[in-house]
Symmetry: C2
Subunit: 156 residues, 2 copies
């Protein structure tokens, strides 16, 4: 992983997300980065054991969806920003995306209190629409996969 | 809405979900019920303003997905339990489902600090697989829609 977190390059007024915004003091503060080869984006987080699913020690589905959602939207912003010459050094903010649709496939139970890795790869960029392919891994096992259509906001 | 909440009819050991489990003291405690005609299921919740999205006053996508996930799995359990004669009076637990896949379409910004209504309708039941159609409304406006494939656990 390298450089600044994408969420730390969002415009100030778009940084309130409970899942990943630096201006939300209550939230999860997920941070997404480029892989070293800049082909993939990566976020790591270790959810506490309060976020259990139906049974103890398994993460609840809502948080899995949340992590994919925040990382997916941040990755869409990064992939699009890269195409328009953003340097990712803080000299200019990223363009900002919101989720149009998100599909999550729950492949295996995901443990709590374990470092999770969330990844995204670019599928396509068509003007303001970016599609990314998502995965969530625990102990190198793929626990969830997903796909997002993200939409670039017009006003920033 | 009528009767007991589906989540209060889950087996004790499957009631730890952060989103909706009665045995998770930290969680959201979403409660899902039958509509009066038992054609639809309904949950109502008013998220606090800490759960903001990118901008203040809009709910973050992760919580929208979480609410659809918990309500969808509870509704799948209810629709299947109805077909096998469960009386929904607490005399026996519901069968228990987990999410196989969930798609969320974010249609409009969803406000925080506003009573949200989450609904589910049955699409199909095929043995242990139940599909439901989901919606999330604020002030009678549909803010998100979705679809879930839920899988019945074998061991309960």
């Amino acid at each position: 992983m390298q450089g600044k977190a994408f969420q730390d390059l969002y415009p100030e007024e778009y940084s309130h997300c409970f899942g990943c915004g630096r201006n939300n003091k209550h939230g999860h503060h997920l941070k997404s980065f480029w892989s070293d080869d800049m082909n993939t984006t990566i976020a790591k987080i270790t959810p506490s054991n309060i976020y259990t699913g139906g049974v103890p020690d398994h993460l609840y589905g809502g948080l899995i969806a949340s992590l994919l959602d925040c990382h997916g939207a941040a990755s869409a912003a990064a992939f699009k920003s890269l195409t328009i010459g953003n340097k990712f050094d803080g000299s200019e903010p990223l363009v900002r995306f919101v989720t149009g649709s998100l599909t999550v496939n729950f492949e295996k139970p995901t443990p709590t209190e374990c470092e999770l890795t969330v990844t995204a790869k670019l599928i396509s960029i068509e003007n303001r629409k970016v599609k990314v392919e998502l995965a969530l891994l625990a102990n190198d096992l793929v626990c969830a996969t997903g796909e997002m259509l993200a939409i670039q906001l017009k006003d920033i």
